[in-house]
């Protein structure tokens, strides 16, 4: 019955409470554990920071409510498949993304600067990337670790400042996407989500309360295309933007729109969660209202069941609240759509589209 699908969702606060009482999985840091103060990672001049891609790194961001039920901070929990876990307290305005090559990129803004760091859960160390005067809202790291892409807003006016590419070696940053201009049709921008496609294109979705304006930058040609009027983007497949429709709530349709303009194609009429993976974004994984997860090959249109039982695809992108090191193109499924520890998630193979145990896919 559909009723069970909605009630199966486990709120985060329950997870935090379970952690505090010691009944959660062994990989969780207990609330009473001392906060982690990572030492600096060893660095080699001119070489990008690099972690251990085989460590099975994962992270989870837990927003913390203070005494007055107001956001008072964020707790970043990160660990490895071997079980080592660290806990880091961050400011209310904070993010984390990745992991990429064993490193979790995190940013935390104290009201004066945004501090960007790469965290290595396996070695228990951190590499400072930058201290930025503007507010870095979110960022992602390129697969080769040479640079990060960060979205910034002005500290005083909160005006959009565009997307910047920052070298992880030199710390220098250059703007690669202009600020999204204000437009009453879209209202104030609530979130800007950054994603990378398998072929290296950058997807930046600037979303108002309902409608998004999504830009796709091809760094090899410099071409920027833009699609307006969808919901948040899931990614790009070839010349198609795959995105949520601009729904008022859930369930919601997932559609593909030609990057050059044209009529959309409905890929899933009523999904509760979705993610794009596979080779070149050819695999759309969706959860229906009954809680069943299926994969659709966007090249053939063939849809196959993948999983059920409360597993949901992780949303991904720079605004994700959890993540795990995964094979390129694979879609990660986890209970409630969030990674809780290093064990409870599963991955959908990008080639076979079959669900695999995590350990089978970690190199």
């Amino acid at each position: 019955m559909e009723r069970s699908r909605w009630l199966r969702y486990t709120p985060l606060a329950v997870i935090v409470a379970a952690s505090a009482t010691g009944i959660a999985g062994a990989g969780l840091a207990a609330a009473g554990d001392p906060a982690w103060a990572p030492r600096p990672c060893p660095a080699t001049a001119g070489v990008p920071p690099r972690g251990d891609p085989a460590s099975g790194s994962w992270f989870r961001m837990d927003p913390i409510l203070g005494a007055e039920d107001t956001l008072s901070g964020q707790r970043l929990v990160l660990g490895t498949s071997a079980g080592s876990t660290h806990r880091l307290s961050l400011a209310p305005e904070a993010f984390a993304s990745g992991p990429v090559a064993g490193l979790v990129l995190t940013g935390s803004d104290d009201g004066r600067i945004s501090q960007l760091r790469l965290l290595d859960a396996s070695r228990g160390c951190a590499t400072g990337i930058a201290e930025e005067a503007d507010v870095v809202r979110s960022a992602i790291m390129l697969p080769d670790g040479t640079a990060i892409l960060e979205h910034r807003v002005d500290r005083s006016t909160r005006a959009d400042l565009g997307v910047w590419r920052r070298s992880t070696v030199t710390g220098e940053a250059v703007r690669v996407l202009d600020p999204m201009p204000a437009d009453d049709r879209f209202g104030p921008t609530y979130v800007t989500d950054l994603r990378l496609t398998e072929d290296g294109r950058i997807v930046a979705a600037s979303c108002g309360e309902r409608l998004c304006r999504t830009r796709v930058l091809d760094p090899t040609t410099g071409d920027v295309t833009r699609v307006d009027g969808t919901g948040p983007a899931l990614g790009v497949h070839g010349k198609w933007l795959v995105a949520w429709e601009a729904c008022a709530g859930m369930p919601c349709a997932v559609t593909a729109r030609p990057l050059g303009g044209g009529a959309p194609r409905t890929l899933a009429a009523a999904a509760g969660a979705a993610a794009l993976g596979g080779a070149d974004g050819s695999l759309l994984v969706t959860e229906d209202v009954a809680g069943n997860v299926a994969g659709t090959d966007l090249d053939t249109g063939r849809t196959l069941p993948i999983a059920g039982g409360g597993l949901m695809p992780l949303p991904g992108g720079s605004l994700a609240t959890s993540g795990v090191e995964a094979a390129p193109g694979s879609v990660v499924l986890a209970p409630g759509g969030r990674v809780r520890d290093g064990r409870s998630h599963r991955q959908v193979d990008p080639i076979t589209h079959v669900l695999a145990e995590t350990k089978e896919l970690i190199p």
Binding site: R5, A13, M250
Partner: protein
Amino acid sequence: MKPVRITFASAVTAAAVAVALGASVLPASAHSPDPVLAGGLFAQNQALAYRWGSGGTPPSAMKTAINGAAADSNASRQSKAPTFAYASTGGNTIYYGVDVPCGLNGLACFRRSAPDTFGIWLRENGHRYDWGTLRWCEMTGDPTGCYDAENITLDELGHVHGLDHHVNYADDSDYTDAVVQTYSHAKPKVGWHAHAFGRCDVATLQQQYDVASSTTLYSTCLDVPSSLTLAASTTTVPMVSTVTFTAKLMSAGSGRLSNNAITGRVVVLQQRTAAGWADVLTMGAGSSTGTYTASLTIGVDTELRATFRKPAGEGLRGSSSASVLVVATSGCTQIPCPRAPAP
């Protein structure tokens, strides 16, 4: 349009081009009833009980706001849309807190699985967006720039009913026609603390669930045709006899708004004169729903009809019945007899 070329290495920023403007961006029409969400409806007058989400019990100020919104919905639905009430064993959940599962953007969101369940999630006070920090008015002492949780919850409850966002004029001049809006307004922008469904919300609720009763006013966001019939107790009477007329006023819209008896309106009995139709009297309430009656003394052949004029504060069209000719036969008691030929 030719795309702008940029490269990472050149450090050149570029304007985004090649806009494919989604059809949903621009309003197709305004001042219409709210669109309807896909996914079906709940039952008429279905009682939907909600409890606080596990791990997401709202603080007391938010509880008051949420319960207030439920009461607002019940009081302003003007239809047979479902009712909402808190119950600790309720089968639906309303959640306040840090873990909102439906989407990245927005102040709150919902999931609906009509006709079984719904869920509503309100983000935590202090949540950070690109534009700044979310402040719920009820939790922060009502400062400028805060969002009214009761209003936002009422918007979500409208979605649970099946309402999609109202389509406004480009200048938003009709913003107060609906609470279920694409863009929420922070204090003090117009409509920021509306605590009753707007007329175009109500219009769709009436279309989808029917009006609450025969006396319920039809939303002025609608333009529902009406139909009126008139019957006489007899159509052939001796001169100067009393005839009783009965009119019946019905809605003549489509779907739920067809063939509804309409009570409590003003229906007048009119007589055809050389100058046209003239009001004779206002008909009173009849014995059955939607009927109006009047008695009239007929001295001469008289052609009559009932008329319902379009009310100023209601979305019903006016209508007139077909005329009824009452023939007064000989045997009159007046001298000279009105039907007698002129001397």
